[in-house]
Assembly symmetry: C2
Homo-oligomer: 365 residues x 2
């Protein structure tokens, strides 16, 4: 592709520039092509400036030389046309709706044959146009999680602006993060740091115990592998408000990946790392070291856990003294613990003892 | 068990009455026992008055005659003690926390050996004490979904009351239903009916298109199989505000079960049907009939779909002319459709055409 468009160019213009490029290729007698980075673990590399993992230099080419390649590019053109219209009308749609919508396109070969195909094409478009899906107004099926803490914000909804304080204006369930958190403006806050929490049970525990209030913490519920909206909001809280971000999960390899997706980004969306990842995010626990030091109730590691831990030792994102030490310790003790296992010392142990001890050792409080 | 306590008796007193009963059994020289309804599909029956499915007359007995039976009752006593304390202190906890908390109990045989065991015991306690888990202050791991529509409510949170209008005071994400929706008081509303929606993508579509505003609908997101909190809130909206409830899901057997759990209750929680089920709830679609009439994009039925449809034909909850007709039609056409398949006619088809046509045929609008 030609030079990257400036961030100021609107999403719509950047999409149409892509279509223009195909036109120019035709016009000069060339077979239209589209070049994409190869999206595998062997083609991600560390960007020293942004401190995130991004795609490397290896690329693969989609060309109209073959029938299937030409069909692929036809679908790209139809999708660009749909997205440009959608942006014109200030509408939005889900990935699944796009798949079904293609049934109404007049040219049969332009229609998607599976939802994997349309999902993949949108990711390709994000990469080559350098526009994020949210800027195309493509929504995910499920929205982000929720926030509780001393923050007042203004959200631009499609029925007007809403000013919401994430403690005083919400119920026990907190403030629901919208699909596109870039519609949020931060107004004022008394927050000391951001605490991202994996499970709903632990999130509710912290809120019931008033941890957000006592420590001026913004408690962000991740709800398992966090949605893009949740990761984006976390990054903005860090970058724009200068808040430290700590991540609190279960003590098993799957949960370390949750931390990894907050801090480093995922391989699947490495092209978005600089929008979604918070490289300064720290892991508060449950660390394998905590399992030993706090003598927590445990389960033995399953074979799949051991494989996942070993694969993390090979993962460039986990190549640090800290993670090597913790993962090797876990393989040695052959145990894992859930964050709610802290309740074996009573319902207040996590907020009275564990988090204050860990956060002060980390210099966060 | 002896006579059912009146609903006015507090949850704490009803739990302690259970423990008293064991004491009396000991005192009169009897081996303590606890009698529970048998919880299988063959032991649910239709309650004509409440119009919900409840457990039948078959019971099984837990007796302290055997060591394992005695241990079971010991765990019941310890759990009652913990719950009574929790209610005294106005605290709450999750099912998972209860499991881990039992590790701190001094008598080893009273500790739970698996989370299944503690979950099961809490369900047993709900049944014999006629107190719902929420009244014990036991929270689920994941909370209810969210509401958008013309309703102003007051929620009693553990940091004071909050008055929230479910359109004007919330972001695009809506109002997050708390774990215990009985902390909600309905203040005023302009709602015409309640529309429960299975998928997040469709919920967002209806909100973006302003369906809640144009039709004065309370849009309740179910998020797959609905949480107890969501079903409880739906039932209260129906019973207390006199609103019709319609359920909008994908057109496949798994989604009919989602409708079933809103309307009739589930076998697992048949003891709660009268608190959670809304027998008047109607199914708006996607009906097998709609797949034919609207010529929707489809997928063929998988073997597991066919089995599930056949099992629904045998399910007492689906024994009606309507469901027999629809399910037989679906087996005949051998197809299923997702609710977002309506997007094949454009993003506004669902709100401009499909829902208005179906709801007016049903007499709801």
């Amino acid at each position: 592709m030609s030079s990257t468009p400036t961030p100021e160019t609107s999403a719509r213009e950047r999409l149409l520039a892509l279509a223009d490029e195909f036109y120019d290729q035709f016009d000069s007698g060339d077979v239209p092509t589209m070049e994409l980075p190869t999206r595998t673990k062997t083609n991600i590399e560390y960007d020293e400036d942004e401190r995130v993992w991004v795609y490397g230099d290896r690329t693969s080419t989609r060309s109209a030389k073959t029938v299937s390649g030409a069909q692929k590019l036809l679908k790209v053109i139809y999708t660009i046309d749909f997205l440009a219209d959608q942006l014109d009308q200030d509408r939005s749609s889900t990935l699944r709706e796009l798949y079904y919508l293609s049934e109404s396109w007049e040219l049969d070969p332009a229609q998607f044959t599976s939802q994997d195909e349309s999902n993949q094409l949108i990711e390709d478009l994000e990469i080559v146009s350098d526009v994020r899906r949210e800027e195309f107004h493509m929504r995910p099926e499920e929205s982000g999680a929720k926030v509780m803490g001393p923050l007042r914000l203004r959200e631009q909804t499609n029925r007007g602006d809403r000013e919401i304080h994430c403690q005083h204006d919400v119920g026990q369930g907190g403030y629901q993060i919208p699909n596109d958190p870039d519609t949020i403006e931060f107004l004022d806050n008394d927050a000391a740091f951001v605490l991202c929490v994996e499970t709903g049970g632990m999130r509710d525990r912290l809120v019931e115990n008033g941890f957000d209030d006592e420590y001026d913490a913004l408690v962000v519920h991740l709800g398992g592998q966090p949605a893009r909206a949740t990761r984006r909001l976390t990054k903005r809280l860090h970058d724009e408000l200068g808040l430290e971000v700590v991540v609190f999960t279960d003590g098993d390899p799957w949960s370390y990946r949750i931390y990894g997706s907050v801090a480093y980004g995922s391989i699947k969306s490495a092209h978005l790392s600089k929008h979604l990842a918070t490289p300064d995010a720290q892991f508060v626990g449950v660390q394998p070291e905590d399992i030993v030091e706090y003598d927590l109730p445990t389960d033995p590691l399953a074979d799949s856990d051991i494989n996942a831990l070993q694969s993390e030792l090979d993962d460039p994102r986990f190549q640090s003294d800290y993670w090597e030490e913790q993962i090797e310790l876990q393989l040695e003790i052959d145990k894992k613990s859930e964050q709610q296992a802290l309740a074996s010392y009573g319902l207040d142990f996590v907020t009275d003892t564990y988090l204050p001890e860990r956060l002060s050792a980390m210099g966060v409080v």
